[in-house]
Amino acid sequence: MLEIFQYGFMRNALAAGVLVSIACGIIGTYVVINRIVFLSGGIAHAAYGGIGLGYYLGINPVLGAIIFSIASSLGMGMVHRKTGQRSDTIIGVMWAIGMAIGIIFLDMSPGYKADLMTYLFGSILAVPASDLVIMLVLNVIIISLVSLFYRQLQAISFDETFAFVVNVPVDRLYLMLVCLIGLTVVMTMRIVGLIMVIALMTMPPAIAGLFVKDMKRMMALSVLLSVFFSFTGLMLSYYLNLTSGATIILVAGVAYLISFLIQKSRQKRKAEANLQSAN
């Protein structure tokens, strides 16, 4: 089994899996506890506009995606903060407009776009070393900002009204958080593609949240789970000759389902035990 590690693309794939899992586990935890899965999905899809922009301008599409997803993060973040109840409608519109812009840009770009599908569906086996460097830099940014503002971010996630009253700069921190989501989206896009980014960002924290009630532990467990899903999915896709991104997501999905059932049966046992001790 170990012979696959002799391939350079395989080593890159594994490194990419670890780097993406770190960002996904940490930022995904905020996405899940803040219940902004829809907003994050919107950022992910709108990033496609940046891919198109990259092709049109002849720059690295990843760079275009970073610019576009930061812009859409700020836009959607502000809409989410300021417009109240109907913000999901506006976010849904921005989500579609971002994708439409990407498609139009691609229409206007000359030449053959061979690797376009890798951005939509991911291609962990085709991650070049230069992208690993980008991922590393993004991870350093994410980890330093989150550790610097850990308490503040936890506070605005738990009770933003109270955080505001004790003069925590809630709006600025919130916009920083959505920008970090945008950066994580761009990284994760390489592995599972824009369409499935949101699944890899939310399933590991959702599983972790069933078993731990501490935010740091939830992040750590999410990272480990995400690494496990990426590795397992990668191996399965290699030996069964399947699309890697989709395989990773299905592995995570099966694990989510199983952990959900475990949790339910644990609750049931607990309830029965309580009932017995009451009798």
Binding site: I33, R35, R151, Q154, F158, F164, V165, V166, M218
Partner: protein
């Protein structure tokens, strides 16, 4: 209760404060002076603007006109001296946060943002949790607590910044009477040094624990006393209508009168 101090120090002052949402006026011409170690109970009908007044004092809502001073400062600066216990209705039981971390939130604003928690700050958090008798549960996740325990944690969170003023919005709305009694006893102890403004529907509590009563129904009727005299009754005439709706009109009035006699 008559304030014995001849020159009481004002900690909250509002001058001609008006608040409206869209075209609807919620608060009309509020002039309120809260003095040091006051314990004011704010009563009034639903939609009478009680929570809105607290929000305005905290800077969560900007008054349409008028001025609010906290400790002689603007609201944004002055709220560093205030502790706030919100009315908690919606709550995510899954949220990964420990009791200790919830209380720590109270320290976040008026300190250096990145410095690790000093031992003095740890001590303060311990002390706040001890005051509400929750120190033994400090490592619990907040979702594992009962409603009353959670409410005490929120009070500790408000106390941890060592506030001069404590604002509470329905602190006993979701707890049983026994626990509510404990919370009011705690507030009475705290009130020896801390000024308290409390919004409440709990007429029993308001009449037996607070020092003065204000009634809010768009306009504020507050005379710095707990007695409900005949002229005040006329002034707050809108309130008793609602009190009857709450089903406790006689108790309120009689306890006011007896308390009034005691202090007279």
């Amino acid at each position: 209760m008559v304030n014995q101090d001849l020159t009481p120090k004002a900690v909250i002052e509002t001058k001609n404060v008006w608040v409206s949402y869209d075209a609807q006026t919620v608060l009309e011409d509020i002039n309120l002076t809260v003095n040091e170690t006051d314990f004011i109970g704010l009563i009034g009908p639903n939609g009478g603007g009680k929570t809105t007044l607290l929000k305005a004092l905290l800077g969560l809502i900007k008054p349409t006109s008028g001025e609010i001073r906290i400790m002689g400062k603007t609201v944004a600066e002055g709220r560093c001296y205030m502790g706030y216990v919100p009315q908690h209705i919606e709550f995510d039981r899954q949220f990964p946060i420990r009791v200790w971390e919830v209380v720590q939130m109270g320290l976040l604003g008026c300190r250096k943002p990145f410095a690790p928690l000093s031992s003095a700050e740890r001590e303060v958090i311990h002390y706040a949790l001890e005051q509400v008798e929750m120190d033994n549960l400090s490592q619990r996740a907040i979702g594992e607590l009962s409603g009353g325990q959670r409410q005490r944690v929120y009070i500790a969170r408000a106390l941890v910044s060592n506030p001069q003023i404590l604002l509470l919005d329905e602190p006993t709305a979701s707890v049983d009477p026994q626990v509510a009694g404990n919370i009011y006893e705690l507030l009475r102890r705290i009130n020896q040094t801390v000024t308290i403004v409390m919004v409440s529907h709990d007429m029993n509590a308001v009449s037996s624990y607070v020092k003065t009563i204000g009634c809010l129904n768009r306009r504020l009727h507050y005379h710095g006393s707990k007695e409900v005299s005949k002229d005040m009754m006329e002034a707050i005439y809108e309130c008793p209508i609602d009190l009857i709706a709450h089903g406790l009109p006689h108790r309120v009035l009689s306890s006011h009168e007896s308390e009034g006699e005691k202090h007279a």
